[in-house]
C-alpha cells in the first residue's frame, strides 16, 4: 500500500489533468548562460592565460630555469630572451612562467584544503550545535587568535633548510582554515532557525539531507568566492615569506623571484624587468582572481533574480 500510494495521486491525474508541454528548451539553453557577465568573462580570460601558459609552456622548456649561470648575466630583452636574463644568469621569462605555475599550484592546493576543512567543520558545528559546537569553536577561536605571520616566520626559519615546497602549503592550511570555518558556521547558525529548515525536517529529512540539500545550496555561492579568496591568500602568504627569504627560495615562485631580484640589487644594476615582471604578473593574477570572485557573486545573484 505504501509503495503504491506515492504514485497514486498522479497516474490518474496525468491522464485527466491539464496537459503540460513535455519539453522546455528555454530552460536548457539558459541553463548555463546566467553564469556569464563581463567581469567573470574578463577574469576567466586572464586566469585562462595564466593557467594554460604556466602549465603548458614548461613542457617546451629545454633548460632548467632555476639553474644559475645558464646564460650571461643581466642581458636586456632580445629575441633570444624576451624579458632578458637575471643577475644569476637565468632566463627571466622562463623563471617567471615556472614561478606562476608553482604559485598557482600552491594556491589551488591550499584553497581546496582550506575550503574542504572549513566547510565540513563550519556546516557541522553550525547545524549540530550543542557540546560539539562549543568544542569545535574553542579550537577554531584558538586558531583565529594565533597571529599567522609571526608563526609562519618562526616555522619558516625553523624548517627552512629541509622543507619541501608543499610543507609551506600544509602550514598555510593548518593556520588558515579557521576564519572560513567561523564564517560558514555563522551563516549556518542563522539558517538553522529559519522556517524552511524546520519544514524540511518536518518532511522527514535527516541531518545530512538538510545539510546537503537545504543549507549547502545557500552556502555554495559563498564557497566559490571563498575558494578564490583563499587561493589569493595562499599566493600572497607564500610570496611574503619568499620575499623575506623564509620560503624555499630555490624553487621559482612569484615571491622568490622578488627575493633574488632584491638580493642581487636588480634596481641598481638597471635590470628593472627582473623586479617588475613578477610584480606585474602577481597584480594581473590577483586581478583575474578578483574579477572571477566578484563575477561569480554577481552571477549567483542574477540567477536568483535579485541583482
Amino acid at each position: 500500500m505504501t509503495a503504491t500510494r506515492q504514485t497514486a495521486a498522479t497516474s490518474a491525474d496525468l491522464a485527466a489533468g491539464r496537459a503540460t508541454p513535455p519539453s522546455r528548451p528555454r530552460r536548457t539553453a539558459a541553463g548555463w548562460l546566467w553564469l556569464f557577465n563581463t567581469r567573470l568573462v574578463l577574469g576567466l580570460v586572464i586566469l585562462a592565460i595564466f593557467v594554460v601558459g604556466s602549465f603548458v609552456l614548461p613542457f617546451f622548456c629545454r633548460v632548467d630555469p632555476a639553474l644559475q649561470a645558464s646564460y650571461m648575466k643581466n642581458l636586456h630583452a632580445s629575441p633570444a630572451h624576451w624579458l632578458g636574463t637575471t643577475g644569476l644568469g637565468q632566463d627571466t621569462l622562463w623563471f617567471l612562467i615556472f614561478a606562476v605555475r608553482n604559485s598557482l599550484t600552491l594556491g589551488i592546493f591550499v584553497g581546496i584544503g582550506i575550503s574542504a576543512i572549513s566547510t565540513a567543520i563550519g556546516l557541522s558545528a553550525g547545524y549540530i550545535g550543542g557540546l560539539y559546537e562549543r568544542l569545535v569553536m574553542l579550537i577554531v577561536d584558538s586558531f583565529i587568535t594565533i597571529p599567522l605571520l609571526p608563526i609562519l616566520i618562526i616555522l619558516g626559519a625553523a624548517i627552512r633548510g629541509n622543507n619541501n615546497f608543499l610543507t609551506i602549503g600544509v602550514i598555510i592550511v593548518v593556520f588558515g582554515w579557521a576564519w572560513n570555518a567561523r564564517t560558514i558556521r555563522s551563516m549556518v547558525l542563522s539558517l538553522r532557525e529559519r522556517e524552511f529548515i524546520n519544514m524540511a525536517r518536518f518532511s522527514g529529512a535527516g541531518t545530512l539531507d538538510i545539510l546537503i540539500r537545504e543549507i549547502f545550496p545557500y552556502v555554495s555561492a559563498y564557497l566559490v568566492v571563498g575558494f578564490i579568496n583563499t587561493v589569493l591568500f595562499a599566493i600572497n602568504t607564500e610570496a611574503t615569506l619568499a620575499v623575506i627569504g623564509l620560503s624555499k627560495v630555490e624553487v621559482p615562485t612569484l615571491g622568490s623571484i622578488i627575493f633574488w631580484a632584491l638580493n642581487y640589487n636588480a634596481l641598481f644594476t638597471g635590470n628593472f624587468v627582473w623586479l617588475l615582471a613578477p610584480i606585474v604578473a602577481t597584480v594581473l593574477l590577483f586581478l583575474g582572481l578578483f574579477l572571477v570572485s566578484t563575477g561569480f557573486n554577481a552571477a549567483f545573484a542574477s540567477k536568483r533574480g535579485v541583482a
Partner: protein, 326 residues
C-alpha cells in the same frame, strides 16, 4: 480514528516544568475537518506538535498516549514513537508562514523532487508534480521559479501541494491563512476543503479566526489554559455552545445587521505556573460559583457528540440579541 488519551505535554524550564497541554482526551473520527481554537498560549500549537510527533527537548510527552488508528506497511499500528517515519507520507504539516517555509535559493521544482520519501526517478516525479500542481490551480512555470518570485497565495498553494502530494491520512494546518488577505484566504480554504473531500483524509486546522472555523470545519475543539473545554460537531458548537468561553468567542464574531459594540472577555488566562484549582476559566466567567473554584469540571458528553468541561454547561448566558448561529 485518532485517539488521544489523557495527553500531558510538559516543557522543562529553569524554574521547573510546566504543562502546556494538561490531560486532553479526544477521539477524532476519520475524514473530518477539526478546527482548534483558543487564545495564544492555550496549548494549540503544543498539541499540534504532539500529534505530529515532533517531541523534542525541552518538550516531552509526560503522560498519556496517542493512537493514530492507521497501520504501517507491515501492519503494525503507528504510535507517537514511530510517526516520524511517516512524516509527509501518512501525516503532513502545512506551516503558518509559507513565506519562509521554502528554501529561497532552490527552485520550487527541485524542492518538490527532493523529498526524502519521493521516488528516486526524479523525472517521473517531476511529471507527476507538474500534473498535480496544475490541478491545484498553479501554472507549470511555478516549478521553475524561486520562492521570492511567487506571490504569498501561490507559495501557500505550493506548500499545500507538497503537504498533500502523497495523500496523507492526516494533515495538520497551523494557521495556514493567517498571513494572507481575505480573498486569497478564501481560495486557500476552499482548496483545502476540496482536497479533503477528494482524498477523504482528516485535517486539523488551527486558527484564531472563528469565522474561518465556522465556514470550514466539521468539528470544533476549544482549548483554554492547556485544557480542552469544549469539543463537538461544529454545527452544534456554533448553534448552541455549552461552555461560556466558547459562547463568548462566538459572540465576538460580527454579524451582518448587528452593530452592537463587541466586548472583549475581561481578565486574562491564568498563569500555568500557579497551582490551579477548580475550573481554569472561573475568574473570567460570569456563571462561576463556589463549586467552580474548588472542583475541576471534567469533559462530559452533554449532547450526542458534544462534550464540554463546565459545571454550568448549557446554562447559556442570556442570548445577546444578535442573530443566532445557524
Amino acid at each position: 480514528m485518532i485517539r488521544l488519551d489523557n495527553v500531558v505535554a510538559s516543557y522543562r524550564t529553569g524554574r521547573g516544568s510546566i504543562n502546556a497541554v494538561d490531560g486532553v482526551s479526544l477521539e477524532i473520527p476519520d475524514g473530518c475537518i477539526l478546527g482548534v481554537a483558543g487564545e495564544s498560549g492555550c496549548g494549540k500549537s503544543t498539541l499540534m506538535k504532539l500529534i505530529y510527533g515532533d517531541v523534542q527537548s525541552p518538550m516531552a510527552l509526560a503522560a498519556g498516549s496517542i493512537e493514530y488508528g492507521f497501520a504501517d506497511g507491515r501492519g503494525q499500528p503507528i504510535t507517537s514513537q514511530t510517526i516520524r517515519q511517516h512524516w509527509f507520507s501518512r501525516i503532513s504539516y502545512i506551516p503558518q508562514s509559507s513565506m519562509n517555509s521554502l528554501n529561497p535559493v532552490v527552485r520550487v521544482g527541485s524542492q518538490f523532487v527532493d523529498f526524502p520519501g519521493a521516488d528516486p526517478d526524479k523525472k517521473r516525479v517531476l511529471e507527476q508534480v507538474r500534473a498535480y500542481i496544475g490541478k491545484l490551480g498553479l501554472p507549470v512555470e511555478t516549478l521553475d521559479a524561486y520562492p521570492h518570485q511567487l506571490s504569498g497565495g501561490m507559495r501557500q498553494r505550493v506548500m499545500i501541494a507538497m503537504a498533500t502530494f502523497f495523500q496523507p491520512d492526516l494533515i495538520l494546518a497551523d494557521e495556514p491563512t493567517t498571513a494572507l488577505d481575505v480573498v486569497v484566504q478564501k481560495d486557500i480554504l476552499m482548496l483545502l476543503m476540496e482536497l479533503q473531500e477528494q482524498m477523504g483524509n482528516t485535517i486539523l486546522l488551527v486558527s484564531h479566526d472563528m469565522g474561518v472555523h465556522y465556514q470550514v470545519t466539521t468539528r470544533m475543539l476549544i482549548m483554554y489554559a492547556a485544557k480542552a473545554v469544549e469539543y463537538g460537531e461544529s454545527e452544534s458548537v456554533f448553534r448552541a455552545p455549552l461552555h461560556p468561553y466558547t459562547r463568548m468567542l462566538i459572540d465576538s464574531l460580527p454579524t451582518i445587521g448587528d452593530d452592537r459594540a463587541r466586548d472583549g472577555i475581561p481578565g486574562r488566562p491564568p498563569s500555568l505556573w500557579q497551582e490551579l484549582r477548580g475550573c481554569r476559566f472561573a475568574d473570567r466567567c460570569p456563571l462561576a460559583t463556589a463549586r467552580c473554584r474548588s472542583e475541576e469540571p471534567a469533559l462530559v458528553e452533554h449532547r450526542p457528540n458534544h462534550f464540554a468541561a463546565c459545571h454550568h454547561a448549557g446554562e447559556l448566558l442570556a442570548p445577546s440579541g444578535g442573530p443566532a448561529w445557524q
